[in-house]
Symmetry: none
Subunit: 204 residues, 4 copies
DNA sequence: TATGAATGAGTCTTCATTCAT
DNA sequence: CATGAATGAAGACTCATTCAT
């Protein structure tokens, strides 16, 4: 029994996800989670040292997925700005958004709408703050390669658009878009963004 | 409950605003609000039948301000789509955003970040749902006057941009933008939007 | 209802005293105290903000009685050392010990034997530390009046004898001495102390 | 439970001593003790059937040392009362106290200050009760040899002085006296006692 | 109107002990 | 012998709401 039993852990996480999803972090109760997972209250604390940690464990996949996606686009070795104008950029970007939404809908919902009171209640802020810094660096790097590029864009604008990405995700989740509907929406969104940025950055 | 003393009511609302702003709906306590307002706990319930109602009362001004602003732009007698292309549209739009932010920052912050657990926790959803319907009608009306206009835009896209308006507000609040900074950002945002929509709607 | 109802407070303190006396601070439970006092659990917290405060409230009389008695003997305006050799000193000292024991037996028992875990768990230490300082001052003051007096007594010895006073109380309580038995014991103790100190201080 | 590994037992006792010393019986937790001893929780119960038994095992050395010392002085074959008046008595008595304090400080501290809630919480009472009986016998025996001796001393007084011995130990531990300081204090104490008893018993 | 005492279910968390492995 | 997962009652404390005054 060195390793906490996998299936119980599974059950706990599943139930916790449901409870957090339905009631939100604050109103979900450890008692209920334990009961519905068929586990003694105390045993919950053998798996997770507290409510907040359980919450974070539930959301871990989606949190790391968010950072992973962002790194891919604007990280140290992110793509060239000009690639935005190419057809396959669109396809790959859409694919990335699809990936993050695939199987993470409920988690995203919890993260974005039900985290108040937890240590993740400011995730969007924290994430976008970090992201904004990265994007600025990314801009600077691209400027070296494309001297004509206009990077005189306010930090705020960068920030705003990062947040809009979340807003897109929020909307897709809230309206339960799936399949083709979802794809279409993401495409529209990306086109809108590409067009706007090409214009602002004076590229393409 | 004949004539509730105005100033007591005032004090209650002021204190409640502070508490909700600092602790959020869930963690704010009626006891503290009563105490800080210099009112007996029970008396609070003579003014508001419950926590949620008090919360809504606190937010009433900002809620109606939101609806008012939206009505002005896209309501039954809203402006003509083409007006978007005119210079003064920009000015008036900026002014409207300024108005809603003026004196409502704290309330907006509460409404947008601290409402979880209350009946207003879904305000953004509710608002944008209603707004989307209005905008669609507005589109249809404009189509009658401008047959060349392309209104084949997904409901979702309309919805998304309505939400983005909130996102803008959220950002301005979160980053405590004021004065010229705020004006500049709103202008950037509106330009971005006008450009996008002109393109999508095939007008101007 | 400005003032918390006296009789309920009385009942709470009575029950708390019993519970603390039987189970000790740690094992006594707020739930039980509330139940036995015929009070809702939450209401307990309208009277006392926490377990420790309730405990201190229960012991308040005996705590202040201790300090009062010590002040009388060795305080700023305490008696002259030579008075120790007079007959009436014995009588008055006995009376003082009687007073502190009168009606405070249970409380003393709690304070001295059942306070572990509470903020009063070190009462004896704290008290004797303060008392030692006072006694040293008292010695110094007496030295001025009685130059032949030997005050070269170790701090520790002073401290030890202060603690012995508590030990006497502990014994009387533990063995449930009452009436004449108690008087006799206190007399023996005081004689023993007077004799010892007269010898050590080289007075009388 | 054949041959319990000696070193594991050693580790358990060492860790338990630390934990009981720091947190007291009530607040020390079996889990922590097990963890810090590098032992599975369950295995603890192979060595000791419960928390209380573990506690007693930890304190066993000091408990028996206390009884041993007392036996030596006042046991069936204890010393003659008159020996108290001889110089070497002082030396031997001091040595005995030193012995019991040597290496047992932590244990004494636990026994005397941290045992509340355990079955040893009344050790002092139990010990002194037994001791008092022994001392009375010892007095009676001495009376046969020294008819002039006055043994009309109250049981309580005997008891009290036994307790004072503990008080001395408590003080030495509490004030962390060591080396010469400790010796001096013990000497002062023993002189004080010898003098008092010589007077009361009318010997020497 | 206004008070604040009273309620009691509810919160998260801890812990000695057991037992299947 | 050893493990540590499991138990479940118990811990102190909170809080929206009610109600007698």
């Amino acid at each position: 029994m060195q390793i906490l039993k996998q299936d119980i852990n599974r059950r706990i996480l599943d139930v916790a996800r449901q409870e957090f999803s339905h009631r939100g972090f604050s109103k979900a109760s450890m008692r209920d989670i334990a009961a519905k997972a068929g586990v003694g209250v105390g045993n919950l604390y053998n798996y997770y040292p507290g409510k907040d940690e359980l919450f974070c464990a539930v959301l871990a996949p989606v949190v790391s997925a968010c950072y992973a996606m962002f790194d891919k686009h604007h990280g140290e070795y992110g793509q060239d700005a000009l690639s935005m104008t190419q057809e396959n950029y669109l396809l790959s970007a859409v694919a990335d958004y699809m990936t993050i939404l695939k199987g993470n809908r409920t988690l995203l919902k919890i993260l974005l709408f039900k985290a108040q009171g937890s240590s993740l209640e400011n995730f969007k802020i924290v994430f976008t703050d970090r992201a904004t810094v990265q994007v600025k660096t990314w801009f600077a790097n691209n400027k070296l390669r494309h001297p004509d590029m206009n990077i005189a864009v306010s930090d705020f604008m960068i920030h705003l658009h990062t947040v809009w990405m979340f807003t897109l995700l929020e909307e897709i989740i809230m309206h339960r878009l799936t399949g083709d509907d979802m794809v279409r929406v993401i495409e529209e969104y990306i086109k809108f963004e590409i067009n706007g940025w090409k214009y602002l950055l004076n590229i393409g």
